[in-house]
């Protein structure tokens, strides 16, 4: 096969990382929130919040590190609305989620317009961390092991979250908050607090994904730049059902398809991007149609918790 040249593979792998990392952050964030029983439809907005604030801080301070912190803050800022309206006040999670997405889309575009008008300043390239020896492996070395720290963080989050879910009391509390909040309450734990932390944590993770897109990926903020990545994160989280490793697999699969088109063009094959982009969704729908069984979600997902109501 002449298709699989080195340039093609390097472009493909680099593309998978670029497309997959935001999805991984989004999926892991949504998973955290859903585990605690909060269906967070607003992560598209949280991602945009992270993308804008991350970019702005990085541009204003000329520091990538501070920019990433800004991304976390941006995501958490939007998710704090979710905490107030859905967790604390118990309002409909889907409605508020959509409102937050629309609001964040408008607000970030507006802020960008106010600050930069029609200019799109670029950030300098982010320095990469070269992992000795591994980075020297041909083809995959430079694409995987000579990357921005945020990439390593995204991948490291998978085992970290697995550990939290299964090996800490917090993980048990999260599961209880999603499965039977009343049991957690009667065990003397504050359900609303745990759900709030989960949603804020979700905002932080998703905000990181947004910051990755604007600071590392594009180097520039463009209104509406997250392009449905947040919604894809929801899909990933729902399919992975509480297992971080599955989110990673999903992000790689989706990332492959999203980047394959570009890589193919590099290799001189002209297939419309749309067809390749359809592949992951078509594949998942096919699997659901053939193997379709109940997607087991936390029992209290989407329901707000009010003490004393059964």
């Amino acid at each position: 096969m002449t298709l699989f040249t080195d340039t093609f593979l390097i472009a493909l792998i680099a593309g998978i990382v670029a497309a997959g990392v935001p999805l991984l952050f989004a999926g892991l964030g949504e998973q955290l929130s859903e585990k605690a029983g909060v269906l967070n439809v607003g992560i598209e907005g949280m991602m945009l919040g992270g993308a804008y604030l991350g970019f702005y801080v990085a541009w204003a301070t000329e520091s990538v590190g501070l920019g990433i912190l800004g991304g976390i803050m941006g995501g958490m800022l939007v998710s704090s609305m979710m905490v107030i309206f859905c967790v604390r006040m118990g309002l409909n999670q889907i409605v508020i989620g959509i409102a937050l997405t629309l609001g964040a889309e408008g607000a970030t575009a507006l802020l960008h317009h106010v600050k930069f008008s029609r200019l799109y300043p670029r950030l300098p390239d982010v320095t990469t961390w070269r992992i000795p020896f591994l980075a020297d492996i041909p083809i995959i070395g430079s694409a995987l092991f000579d990357r921005e720290p945020l990439v390593y963080l995204a991948i490291a989050l998978v085992p970290i979250l697995f550990y939290i879910y299964h090996r800490t009391h917090f993980g048990l509390a999260l599961q209880a908050a999603g499965d039977k909040p009343a049991a957690l309450d009667s065990a003397g734990q504050n359900v609303l607090a745990i759900r709030s932390y989960a949603v804020l944590g979700c905002g932080a993770l998703v905000g990181l994904g947004g910051a990755f897109m604007s600071i590392v990926g594009a180097g520039v903020f463009v209104p509406f730049m997250t392009h449905g990545n947040g919604f894809m994160g929801i899909v990933l989280a729902m399919l992975a059902r509480g297992r971080p490793l599955w989110v990673l697999f999903g992000a790689v699969l989706f990332g492959t398809c999203l980047s394959a088109a570009t890589a193919l063009q590099v290799a001189g094959v002209d297939i419309p991007t749309d067809i390749v982009q359809m592949l992951p969704f078509a594949a998942v729908m096919l699997v659901l149609l053939i193997a379709g069984r109940n997607a087991k979600l936390p029992a209290a997902l989407g329901a707000s918790y009010v003490r004393g109501e059964r």
């Binding site: 090996r167 800490t168 009391h169 917090f170 048990l172 509390a173 599961q175 209880a176 499965d179 039977k180 009343a182 049991a183 957690l184 309450d185 009667s186 065990a187 003397g188 734990q189 504050n190 029992a299 003490r307 004393g308 059964r310």
Partner: protein
């Protein structure tokens, strides 16, 4: 209840130490009602304190205040003689109050050990092995066996309750509250729980046992407090309780609960068996019925019910009764066998077709499947008739007819509702049941399945419902009465079948000695 449990030997609680909990004038109001009206109570270590009362008497409200879920509007709660607010479940646990609720408060997807560690330091690793050892030790102390590593959702309700009590012990509880703990248990498990309560009291623990069953109260309690309509109407001290014979104690409590209206007097004699004409064709026949779809598979169910007959089905809850009702009504498909009504096979017919044949099903899951809570009561009355003339004309709603139907039913069935447009979820349990009865027992009724028809109702509504059942049979319908209350079955049925693990293990004529025979069948002695 089967047989009255053997009475225990009384402990001798010392009265010089202050009570673990003292309630002084505790009051809780909800919109429109006073749930607890100035309640005074003392809960002492080493005693089983029974809180007795009907539904709506205010027992649950009192429990939720003791466990920190609700706060009193007035009055004081003293702990060890010192006033202290129980401001949250966490505070309650700190004080040493553990509550076992009627509906299990364990997370189904976690193991028992994990459930026991809920609420410990967040970032720590759960010490599963250590906790399991602790749990086993605690279980052993109170004579309970359990596997700490098993996942909660695989366990029976009785096992879950034992695990919850064990967990309470591990937390160092001084006061254990059991909220309607026996309501969902098999008679054997309930008896075991009673023994457990006695053992805990003997260890010096204070136990509050909430129930509406008199025999349990007298059998396990040291002290009884009776609540009625939110007020404490009296009680029995340990001396009084232990000094009286069980029958006298029961009689005294009944007087307190129902204000001299002794329900025992109204007890009607069981129906005459020979009034049923068995020479005619049976109304409902079930032939070698199998159904493997449910949690408890039905196997080889066979019985016949004649017009005018009440055919009771006894058995411990969860032995396939619900499954049987659903298959007969058409909500689940049968695997094998036949269902015959008036000589026609109906097992391949849909739910609606069976209803049109005159088969009715009064479900026990009134809010879960019987009604749509947010819909007006008038629409819920017609939930099974949607699209039918005259309520709908060519698919369009006929508001006048719907309203008229609702008004008639309100009158005929004495449904107490603010208006026919009130969402049904806002009605009381008794009135919701009346709506269901009104829906199922009108027009051409030929056979009716009553599933636990009096479950969760207060006495007045129990009596009204039982009268309806009797009338339904007298009007010539075949009645299938599924119940876990043996007394109810004995007072209403002509014959009673006993179900165990999806099978009918015997059918008994309701004559003298039926109670004993059924008891033997249920405990598996006669097979």
């Amino acid at each position: 209840m089967l047989d009255a449990q053997a009475r225990h030997t009384p402990n001798q609680p010392t009265t010089d130490v202050p009570p673990v909990i003292t309630l002084e004038g505790v009051t809780k109001r909800y919109p429109g009602i006073i749930a607890n009206d100035s309640i005074d109570m003392e809960i002492r270590a080493g005693e089983v304190h029974v809180l007795l009362g009907e539904n709506g008497a205010g027992k649950s409200t009192l429990v939720s205040m003791l466990s920190g879920l609700q706060q009193p509007d007035d009055g004081h709660i003293l702990i060890d003689g010192i006033e202290q607010a129980i401001s949250s479940p966490a505070t309650a646990l700190d004080i040493g109050i553990s509550t076992v609720f009627q509906h299990s408060m364990l997370v189904p997807s976690l193991t028992l050990v994990e459930n026991a560690t809920l609420g410990r330091t967040w970032w720590r690793k759960p010490d599963r092995d250590g906790t399991a050892k602790e749990m086993n030790a605690a279980a052993q102390r109170i004579g309970v066996t359990l596997d700490p590593m098993s996942v909660t959702e695989d366990l029976s309700l009785g096992e879950r309750q034992q695990a919850e009590i064990t967990r309470a012990l591990m937390r160092g509880a001084r006061l254990l509250i059991l909220d309607e703990a026996t309501a969902m248990l098999t008679p054997n498990d309930a008896a075991r729980l009673g023994e457990l309560m006695r053992r805990l009291a003997a260890e010096g623990m204070a136990v509050v046992f909430i129930t509406h069953k008199l025999n349990e109260a007298v059998a396990y309690g040291d002290r009884i407090t009776v609540l009625r309509l939110g007020k404490k109407v009296g009680g029995l001290t340990p001396d009084a309780l232990h000094g009286l014979a069980p029958e006298d104690a029961t009689a005294q409590v009944v007087r307190l609960m129902f204000d001299a209206q002794d329900t025992g007097d109204e007890k009607t004699s069981p129906p005459q068996i020979d009034t049923i004409d068995r020479t005619v064709k049976p109304r409902l026949e079930v032939l070698a019925l199998y159904d493997e779809s449910g949690r408890v598979p039905l196997s080889n169910i066979e019985f016949k019910v004649w017009p005018g007959e009440v055919f009771g089905i006894a058995g411990i809850d969860g032995n396939g009764q619900k499954q049987l009702a659903k298959t007969l009504a058409g909500q689940t498909k049968i695997s094998d066998g036949r269902i015959v009504m008036d000589g026609d096979f109906i097992d391949q017919k849909s739910i609606g077709q069976r209803r049109a044949c005159g088969l009715r099903y009064v479900t026990d899951d009134r809010m879960g499947e019987g009604t749509v809570g947010t819909f007006p009561m008038s629409i819920n009355l017609l939930l099974k008739e949607i699209g039918k003339v005259p309520y709908w004309q060519r698919g369009l709603e006929n508001t006048a007819a719907i309203k008229e139907n609702a008004m008639t039913k309100v009158k005929d069935f004495d449904i107490r509702t603010p208006s026919i447009d009130t969402p049904i979820a806002k009605l009381s349990g008794g009135n919701i049941q009346k709506v269901l009865l009104a829906r199922e027992l009108s027009d051409d009724v030929r056979a009716v399945i009553f599933e636990k028809p009096t479950y969760g109702l207060d006495l007045a509504n129990i009596a009204a419902t039982q009268t309806r059942i009797r009338e339904t049979a007298q009007n010539g319908a075949a009645v299938l009465l599924i119940s876990t209350e043996l007394d109810e079955l004995l007072s209403l049925s002509h014959r009673i079948a006993v179900m165990d693990q999806g099978r009918i293990v015997g059918i008994v004529e309701n004559t003298n000695g039926a109670r004993h025979k059924i008891g033997a069948l249920m405990s598996g002695a006669e097979k």
